[in-house]
Amino acid sequence: MAKSGLKKDPWWMTTLIYAILLIFTVIAVYPILRVISISLRPGNLLHTTSLRLIPKNATLESYKILFTQKPFLRWLFNSTIVSGMVTILGVSLASTAGYAFSRFNFKWREFGMISVITTQMFPVTMLLIPLFVMLIHLHLYDTFLGLVIAYSATVLPFCIWQMKGYYDTIPVSLEEAARIDGSSQFGAFYRIVLPLASPALVITALFSFMGSWSEYLVAAVILNDRALFTLPLGLKQFQSNFDTEWGLYAAGAVVVSVPVIILFLFLSRWLISGLTLGSVKG
């Protein structure tokens, strides 16, 4: 693990390192603590110049209103459905496509990989109008299916690239051995390679999920029916009304972020080993 050397850092250097890390940790954590703090404020203290992290007369009132008087559970449900479907679609399509890009020397490989990365360069606004028109024609406007397809397409490029990079690190000889033992091509992929690629699969699933859990713009264009609103659309409503619903926004933000943060931190061990950008191995 040591960056350099076998020699130990002198004490002043260790102190300096801790000081720098501490400053950045505070900067990284503070905004999150601040939202939590606002969500605990009682209604008459929403606007205050106090910097206390645990506000005076802390209360869970905002959470109560959020769950009982606002359609928050509805949004939560909608977001969960959409993100879940995108995750399943994203993982299954990216794991197969990435595999082909890693293992087969077919004519479309170069073209395919380049077009995958090229999609990252399209400004999202460029796709919005045509997508909007197209979904209306296909009667998919204002439906979850339309949103799920749109999201899957936007998360796929990164996921494919990411899966391909990880497959590249798995020795081909393992599949060859399986093939010799009489396994089919798909069998070798499914039983040998896929389990070995689980760190990358986890990362792919995480990104697919987070991508759709947190997306605002496409949802704003595709969804119009309030009953179909996902979390970002709902929370934005609170926020635009700075005066009355700031506490509700903060409470909602906490509820929305906590699951992904936990998921993310829980998986962060895999992030470092599983996140490859298909780079190191030429």
């Binding site: 960056k3 350099s4 905004p31 606007h47 399209f122 606004t125 460029m126 605002y216 992030l271 950008l277």
Partner: protein, 305 residues
């Protein structure tokens, strides 16, 4: 003619020989073709038309006139300049902060994994929440930033969101905050793959810490960071969310726009469809030129064979 036939034959042969590969990629490409390729082609058509609110149904082709309009408006160059500044400043801080923290963390330290986890937090928070939360923190009277500045640093309150420069600084600070953990994680992964023996050898040869950093760590980190940086540049260049949500649609007076948010405004507020499509193509062209270099450098399209 014969070459065309030969090429087609080549492809048909390949289609047969590598049939499995095409099966594996087909589903993903169907979805992406449906949502990305078709809109892209549609957008090209639109960029050659005069479609707008007044010509919505009776639109017709007008050639490259929309592109001429794009390049003849002085505002375009101003927004382009701001987009470049936005991208350069953000990516610079993402990389320097991310790599520095990774270097500091890549040693035995007490509480190392807790610190690392906490430092990844900004990445884990959904982007729109980050943006909306920071917007609240930049509030002139009740925002945490001004309160802290006044209380602990004795500085006068800053007009963050109501002045063009303040608002631009605010969006950049927000985006730097949420972007550095990605670079840090990539750098940490890269550092782990550097063989320890190199440092041992360097030590034997009497190379100091600084020498080791300059001669071993940074050069070996470079191939890992370059694709990440290039991707970071593309993402930042096109980052709509942070700009739009922190500055509430480009406020004050449309002064915080970068190209993407400027296009969005042209579409959904001014209904200049043809113009917006042409401008989108220009943005795409800029990024494509940049990336041709990127793909050449990383050789990421190669497989294991």
């Amino acid at each position: 003619m014969t070459t065309v036939v030969a090429t087609i034959q080549d492809y048909l042969y390949d289609l047969k020989k590598n049939r499995t590969a095409y099966y594996y990629t087909l589903p993903a490409f169907l979805v992406m073709g449906f949502v990305i390729l078709y809109p892209f082609l549609y957008n090209i058509v639109l960029s050659l038309s005069n479609m707008s609110l007044t010509h919505f149904r009776d639109w017709r082709f007008i050639g490259f006139r929309q592109y001429v309009t794009v390049f003849s408006e002085p505002l375009f160059y101003w927004v382009l300049l701001k987009t470049i500044i936005w991208t350069a400043v953000n990516v610079f801080f993402h990389v320097t902060i991310g790599v520095s923290l990774a270097l500091l963390l890549n040693r035995p330290l007490f509480g190392r994994s807790i610190i690392r986890t906490l430092l990844i937090l900004p990445w884990a928070v959904p982007q729109y929440i980050t943006a909306l939360t920071w917007r609240g923190m930049f509030h002139y009277r009740y925002g945490a930033i001004n309160l802290i500045l006044v209380k602990y640093f004795g500085v006068h309150q800053i007009q963050w969101l109501s002045t063009p420069i303040g608002a631009f600084a605010a969006v950049i600070i927000t985006n730097v905050w949420l972007g550095f953990p990605f670079m840090m994680v990539i750098a940490l992964g890269g550092l782990q793959s550097i063989p320890r023996e190199l440092y041992e050898a360097a030590e034997v040869d009497g190379a100091g810490r600084w020498q080791q950093l300059k001669k071993i760590t940074l050069p070996l980190l470079k191939p890992v960071m370059i694709p990440a940086i290039s991707l970071g540049i593309i993402w930042t260049f096109n980052n709509f969310n942070v700009i739009w949500l922190v500055s509430n649609g480009g406020q004050p007076a449309d002064s915080t726009h970068i190209l993407v948010s400027y296009v969005y405004k042209a579409v959904f507020n001014y209904y200049r469809y043809g113009y917006a499509a042409a401008l989108s193509m220009v943005i795409f062209g800029i990024l494509l030129l940049f990336s041709v270099k990127f793909i050449k450098q990383t050789k990421g399209t190669k497989g294991v064979y």
